[in-house]
């Protein structure tokens, strides 16, 4: 019989690193990433799963971490923006965001990058409408949308080589 618990010990892998910590049942994965694990790259904004600033990858799929209780991430693999770099170098996608001017204030960018990474992993050669739809859950008020799309396209083209 499972127990009734207010705090829970969870084990999860974050950006390839195994972590074990005790979390409150009513804290979200976003809370735990930012406050307990001090990974502040993932951002807090709308808290209703609309803006995507809190997007992380959970077991290979992007989710709004503000709507995932930390306890639900027990035994999961989580990737945040901090985990996108490869061997200490920014990934081709991150570089493309810089090269194509897809970054203005930058606050939405961690979420955009995680979502775009996942999109390309699923669909290595997306069309523009597929990119727009795939990233529609990531709001950008600076409205860098065109440049973000170009960055994703450029990265997709780069993978031909």
């Amino acid at each position: 019989m499972s127990e009734m618990i207010q705090t829970v010990l969870i084990e999860l892998t974050v950006n390839g690193r195994r972590r074990a910590l005790t979390v409150a049942a009513n804290h979200t994965l976003l809370d735990v990433l930012r406050d307990d694990l001090e990974l502040t790259g993932t951002k807090e904004c709308c808290l209703v799963g609309e803006c995507g600033a809190c997007t992380v990858s959970l077991d290979g799929r992007i989710v709004d971490s503000c709507l995932v209780l930390a306890v639900e991430a027990d035994r999961a693999q989580v990737t945040t923006v901090e985990g996108l770099a490869v061997d200490g170098h920014v990934s081709p996608l991150q570089q493309a965001f810089l090269d194509k001017g897809a970054v203005q204030c930058g606050f939405c960018i961690p979420g955009q990058l995680v979502a775009a990474h996942a999109l390309l992993a699923e669909n290595p050669h997306p069309t523009v409408p597929e990119i727009q739809e795939g990233l529609a859950g990531n709001l950008c008020r600076c409205a860098c949308y065109q440049q973000i799309t170009e960055a994703v396209l450029a990265t997709a083209e780069g993978t031909d080589r």
Partner: protein, 748 residues
């Protein structure tokens, strides 16, 4: 030309931090022993506070302080950029939905939230004013205590200020056709993805404050006054904001947080929720009545504009929004007679503040739509009528102000060419076009310091706030151009009043011009020192030495800067320091206290289809062209223009606050307040610029980034009208509104 220099588009300085998540916004900064703050607000637009019982809240473990007005110096200090009308926390009455009445500081967020819920406020809900009509009703209750406005003849009304601009006499000016309409511009909010964030901590005998503020020096001044501390003991840290758009220009909750820090002796941290930001900042909405007189050949005879802007319960900078925004309401045209009457009208709503475009999009929506209608009535092409009236470069189209400072016709013709104006359209499609103008800063002061270090690397100190527009990059490019250092050898330090010299503010698209020039002058000072050095080293007259483009030119050869610097500094080493200042002084007799440093000019042209059964507006092609003088970083210019255009699609097609009958905002938060997503873009979007190096900024640049927003609504509505025959004069053009207008047309 190396891409690091001006005119190139090097990667954004500070970009790496943004794409790796290492960029520290205020909410990411960890202070030791910080207390979390949660605000207590009432769920009504206006209420008389009878009592506040904090006892239960104080019992929550981990709570250190529940602050109310009673804990503050009495009378509770008031502040504001234009009028000191806003109390640090509500005093006696809450005047808008979300005005804080108390604030809890606790060891954890959970404790602060739990305690906030336990603060018992006994209050009496009062009738609230949240429309222009209600505010102007002679029987209306006064939003602001008249005692705050002694000697003000309007103190007994809800009109904070009335402004009158214009020239000649519109009543005495005849016209062949008069078009008169009323337009409305909705209440919208900034919705920066980073909610406002504030922290404060005692700092020795002073205080340190962190804020997502766009104007750190202005905040420093206000805190210094309120706290009774010298400026040198108030340190404001202003990390790059995650989007500002004007909503983070002015002091909001920093004084409250500062008092809480001083009282507890601990650092305190307040991060607003997104919903709370809707209650903290919004654009100044407006009702605009325009009477435009035309001659039969399409020339403008007069413009008669009456604009009532609904501002919030406290003025913030909203009255300036009104005066500066309405002042050029007659547009970039030659108009023989103009009368503009604009009012800032107080209401029990979120304090309205600056928002990209300031007060210009509101009147431009009305005035350009009226010109569209006049052209149709006269049977004149809507592009042609604008060209016929457009001010020519150098023309004093607004008497006593800066003359037209661009070849604006070039911008208009480029937009027309890109959209294919005049070419046949498929059935069901319409085209619209609009022009827009906004005054740049009217006064200004920016200081910059540049240090050329012993190895040729450079540090630039500039108090501008880089909230995404890319100021940091442009400033680095200027230094790269003038001092020859590659971009990755240049560090730009911003956002610390203890380290960075004074900058008045980041607004009005001013920074490229004002701060850019200050940096340029600082670099030029260093260049002068290098000339002196070279003269000394080589026994040459200074007058025969030129330093430019990163090289030192002697009569017989060229040296790199480092080849002068190293020997010049000698064994002791050291560095060269340059200071620069750019100042635009006030003109006391000017209606706005100063003429425009430059104008932002934009022409937007749109091709649209309307689904007449549902009211959906499909933007098929979108063209925006701006007159920028010189694009110091062309990619960033494109991003600003396209970003402004898409942001403008928000208030044009989908954004608006929905109030209930008591003045509460119903659509707080992201689910029912819709902003454009990646799927809401025009199907094809192009931006272009006109560069004639005719701006007052470095290398002939002008400020930009707001112009493209001015024309979105009138251009879209004009295209909708062209496609359907229906003129709509209220925003946003939601599918339902368009559907209703189409239906009413066919039944009338």
């Amino acid at each position: 030309m190396r891409t690091d220099r001006i005119g190139g588009s090097p990667n954004r300085v500070g970009g790496i931090g943004r794409v790796t998540g290492s960029q520290q916004y205020v909410a990411d900064i960890r202070l030791q022993d910080v207390l979390e703050v949660k605000l207590v607000t009432l769920d009504c637009a206006r209420a008389r506070i009878i009592s506040i019982d904090t006892s239960a809240a104080e019992q929550v473990p981990g709570v250190l302080l529940v602050m109310t007005a009673a804990h503050l110096p009495q009378p509770v200090p008031r502040f504001g950029p234009q009028f000191s009308d806003r109390p640090i926390i509500a005093v006696g009455e809450t005047k808008y939905h979300g005005e804080p009445v108390a604030a809890v500081a606790a060891e954890t967020k959970d404790a602060a939230e739990a305690a906030a819920r336990l603060v018992k406020v006994e209050y009496e809900e009062l009738p609230a004013i949240f429309s222009v009509a209600a505010a102007l009703d002679p029987a209306a209750v006064l939003v602001q205590d008249p005692a705050l406005r002694p000697n003000d003849p309007l103190a007994g009304t809800n009109v904070l200020r009335e402004h009158r601009f214009g020239w000649a006499d519109v009543e005495a000016t005849g016209a062949d056709l008069v078009v008169e309409n009323a337009y409305t511009f909705p209440i919208v909010t900034h919705f920066a993805i980073e909610p406002h964030a504030f922290m404060a901590a005692p700092d020795g005998d002073g205080i340190a404050v962190w804020s997502s503020i766009q104007h750190p020096n202005w905040l420093q001044k206000i805190l210094s006054q309120i706290l009774g501390l010298p400026l040198a003991k108030v340190r404001v840290y202003a990390p790059d904001p995650g989007g500002g758009f004007g909503g983070k220009q002015h002091t909001k909750l920093e004084p409250l947080v500062a008092f809480m820090a001083l009282r507890t002796g601990r650092p305190v941290r307040l991060i607003l929720t997104l919903d709370e930001t809707f209650q903290a900042v919004r654009r100044t909405s407006a009702e605009v009545r325009v009477r435009t007189g035309f001659m039969s050949d399409g020339t403008l005879a007069f413009q008669d504009v009456e604009a009532n802007y609904l501002i919030g319960a406290y003025a913030d900078i909203a009255d300036r929004v009104v005066s500066k925004g309405s002042y050029p309401a007659a547009g970039p045209y030659r108009v023989p007679a103009v009368r503009i009457v604009s009012r800032s009208v107080l209401s029990h709503t979120t304090p309205a503040t600056a928002f990209r475009g300031f007060g210009n999009p509101q009147v431009n929506w009305a005035v350009e739509s009226n010109i569209d209608e006049g052209a149709r009535a006269l049977g004149i092409d809507r592009l042609e009528i604008r060209l016929r009236n457009l001010a020519r470069k150098g023309e004093a189209f607004i008497p006593v102000d800066t003359p037209a400072d661009g070849d604006w016709e070039q911008t208009v013709r480029r937009a027309a060419e890109l959209i294919g104006w005049g070419t046949p359209l498929p059935p069901g499609r319409g085209r619209g076009l609009a022009l827009g103008i906004k005054s740049g800063p009217t006064t200004g002061l920016s200081y910059a310091t540049v240090r050329l270090l012993a190895d040729g690397s450079v540090i630039v100190y500039a108090g501008t706030s880089d909230m995404g527009q890319g100021a940091r990059t442009v400033f680095a490019q200027i230094a790269a151009t003038e001092l020859g250092a590659p971009l990755d050898w240049i560090t730009v330090v911003m956002g610390d009043t203890a380290v960075v010299p004074y900058d008045q503010q980041t607004s009005a698209s001013r920074s490229t011009v004002l701060m850019g020039n200050a940096i340029l002058r600082a670099c030029q000072s260093i260049q002068a020192q290098l000339r002196t050095m070279a003269a000394r080293l080589h026994g040459i007259d200074e007058a025969d030495i030129v330093v430019e483009g990163g090289v030192v030119r002697l009569p017989d050869r060229e040296l790199s800067i480092i080849d002068v610097l190293k020997p010049g500094l000698g064994r002791l080493g050291g560095e060269l320091v340059g200071n620069g200042e750019m100042r635009k002084d006030a003109e006391p007799d000017h209606p706005l206290s100063g003429s425009a440093a430059f104008f932002e000019f934009n022409c937007t042209a749109i091709e649209a289809e309307v689904d007449q059964d549902t009211g959906d507006v499909i933007l098929v092609r979108y063209v925006t062209v701006s007159d920028v003088g010189k694009a110091l970083n062309p990619l960033q210019v494109t991003m600003q223009d396209e970003g402004a255009a898409i942001q403008g699609l928000g208030h044009t097609l989908m954004e608006h606050f929905i109030f209930d009958d008591k003045g509460r905002i119903r659509n707080l938060g992201a689910i029912d307040y819709r902003i454009p997503t990646s799927m809401d873009l025009p199907l094809d979007m192009q931006s272009a610029i006109v560069e004639n190096a005719d701006g007052p900024g470095p290398y002939g640049s002008k400020g930009m980034s707001e112009g493209a927003l001015l024309c979105v609504a009138p251009a879209v509505a004009a295209a909708v009208r062209d496609a359907t025959g229906v003129a709509i004069r209220d925003l946003p053009l939601t599918p339902e509104r368009v559907w209703r207008a189409l239906r009413d047309r066919s039944t009338s």
